[in-house]
């Protein structure tokens, strides 16, 4: 509750938090098919219909309801974003913690592998992985998770190294606490703040990457709905049916903006020592 109060007393947190809550509600509604129409149903008589009371965001070339497809697409991007960031957080936390704890050869090996992964621009590494495995939702999740794992590993390893050498960790060792207990209770709990900020920002990046991959035809595959795919489909029709472009574009922009604002607010709230200037 104290955290929620802190977020909503921060200007960026208030706006970002509200957007993220609305985004998650829309995503869940889309995922559980609670949409105004069936997103795949073709109302052939109403093809390329402008927004009205029945079709809130108009219809596409096949007469499918854009609002329903958009809700489904938001659900899809949330699924990809949530799963990929969860995987990257888990992998990065385990690798970063163990690298910091065991040090020596394991640390060197983990960090050099992460350096290798960081040597690729994110979208390029994702494209390489998709080139090998083939396009699809689960490939996108795996690709985005692999791309962002090195960032989480670095975020965890740095502070874990400094916490490891603190007196309370030495004391825990002296009292005979197990390695598992020290790693989870002392190190991991102290890393919750930087991890929370990173997770929020990574969600914004993953939404961006997922939309980009789907736009290129390498993410979510039709007839499933995705914001990137909707934008790709809008390219040849944007003059006659601008709603096909405007609504998905706004959905992507606003959702990424929400996570970015929330991430900035969390950074200010959770890490006052390195507080960034409001920007």
């Amino acid at each position: 509750m104290a955290m929620l109060r802190a977020i909503f007393s921060h200007a960026s947190g208030r706006i970002g938090g509200t957007i993220v809550v609305i985004y998650i509600v829309v995503a869940l509604l889309g995922m559980f098919d609670v949409t105004p129409h069936n997103p795949l149903q073709q109302f052939r008589i109403d093809r390329l219909h402008a927004p009205n009371a029945v079709y809130w965001m108009g219809t596409d070339l096949f007469g499918r309801d854009v609002a329903s497809r958009l809700m489904k697409g938001v659900g899809q991007s949330f699924l990809v974003g949530f799963c990929s960031v969860t995987l990257a957080t888990l992998a990065g936390t385990v690798l970063g913690l163990t690298a910091a704890w065991f040090g020596k050869a394991w640390d060197a090996l983990v960090m050099r592998v992460m350096d290798v992964l960081l040597a690729f621009p994110a979208i390029l590494l994702a494209l390489l992985i998709i080139a090998i495995v083939g396009p699809g939702t689960w490939t996108s999740i795996a690709a985005i998770a692999i791309v962002y794992t090195p960032i989480f590993t670095r975020v965890v390893r740095g502070p874990a190294l400094s916490i490891k050498s603190r007196e309370f960790v030495d004391a825990a060792r002296t009292f005979g606490s197990s390695r598992h207990y020290i790693l989870t209770r002392h190190l991991l709990l102290n890393l919750v703040a930087p991890l929370t900020v990173q997770v929020t920002l990574a969600l914004a990046w993953s939404l961006l990457t997922e939309a980009g991959l789907s736009f290129l035809g390498l993410g979510t595959q039709p007839p499933a709905s995705s914001l990137g795919l909707m934008l790709a489909d809008s390219r040849n029709l944007m003059e006659t049916a601008p709603w096909l472009l405007i609504f998905p574009a706004l959905a992507i922009m606003i959702s990424i903006l929400g996570f970015n604002l929330l991430g900035d607010a969390l950074r200010d709230i959770l890490d006052p020592k390195t507080r960034s200037r409001p920007a």
Partner: protein
């Protein structure tokens, strides 16, 4: 050992790691290396042809020997043959690279031309309405994917003025500079948009830090005009993080222009990678990825060296 020494020493090691990853990745493609090289056409080969090809490409040898031969080839500029183009991969890449390089350079110019003055302007009007406006612009800019910016620009131009910026054959700069710049300006603005937002945020933040320093206060109290304090005293010191960001972003622009090149139908390196993936031209995918990763790493290394040169206070002993 200082951070920079360690950075220089680990560079070849990481490069070796990148080459192993790219080599192994392509061999993970379902089917053998001949399938990887010829794609679906491999199914048309007779067993004798397949054996002959296996021997010719050296893939009947152990994997380590294969890697060694491939690496020796890479050092000699031999990245294999593209089955799509029927030409050496390096040649195809070098044909496309100038466009991507030009696009990245122009995007950086756009970003700096917009972002730097906007950041300085906002910092000098801290917490005022104009500062808030710049900050909102920067936040929206950072949250808008470049392909969305591109689509919105194309829509605005086609709906408002009846212009379609994606029409016509691409003209290289040295063939017709004016026509080339005309074709490149919108992609550069598209790609530079988010970058401009990042430059705005970081230059504003750095300027605010510098403007509160003692030497700036001293200059002001000695009667140095405000304009001179901002542009001559404060800005050079605030530029250090901007230079770092620009270097890193430039690396991303070289490798991340896939979407923008796709939207504006520009035959650059990003689109080459995408086409290679869609056509399953694995030698070309491998070559492009290696080429882009190498450039990205060299640029990041140069940025680190430049960072230390620009700011002698920096002793990067605690780096990862």
């Amino acid at each position: 050992m200082s951070y920079l020494t360690r950075r220089l020493l680990t560079f070849p090691l990481v490069m070796l790691g990148v080459s192993i990853l790219v080599f192994v990745a392509i061999r993970l493609v379902p089917g053998d290396a001949i399938t990887a090289m010829l794609g679906t056409e491999a199914g048309l080969l007779t067993p004798a042809q397949r054996d002959a090809l296996a021997s010719y490409f050296g893939i009947d040898q152990p994997i380590l020997a294969q890697y060694w031969h491939w690496l020796l080839g890479v050092f000699q500029g031999d990245l294999g043959i593209s089955v799509t183009y029927g030409k050496p991969v390096l040649g195809v890449i070098l044909e496309r690279f100038p466009l991507t390089l030009q696009l990245a350079l122009m995007s950086m110019c756009v970003a700096l031309a917009v972002g730097l003055p906007a950041g300085v302007f906002a910092a000098t009007r801290n917490e005022k309405l104009s500062d808030l406006g710049v900050r909102i612009f920067a936040m929206i800019g950072q949250s808008t994917p470049n392909f969305v910016v591109g689509l919105l620009i194309i829509y605005a131009l086609s709906a408002g003025f009846g212009i379609l910026p994606t029409m016509g054959e691409f003209t290289p700069f040295f063939t017709n500079p004016l026509r080339n710049l005309g074709q490149m300006i919108l992609p550069a603005v598209t790609l530079g948009f988010a970058f401009a937002a990042s430059v705005t945020r970081i230059s504003r933040s750095a300027m605010l830090d510098v403007l509160s320093d003692d030497y700036v206060r001293t200059a002001r109290s000695k009667g140095v005009p405000k304009r001179s304090v901002i542009w001559r005293h404060a800005l050079p010191n605030a530029l250090i993080p901007v230079v770092t960001l620009s270097g890193v972003e430039f690396g991303y622009l070289l490798g991340g222009a896939v979407l923008v090149e796709q939207i504006y139908a520009l035959p650059g390196l990003g689109r080459l990678v995408l086409d290679a993936i869609l056509q399953r031209d694995y030698a070309l995918v491998q070559g492009c990825v290696l080429f882009i990763a190498f450039n990205f790493m060299v640029i990041n290394l140069l940025v680190d060296l430049l960072y230390a040169t620009l700011d002698p206070r920096i002793r990067l002993g605690e780096g990862g």
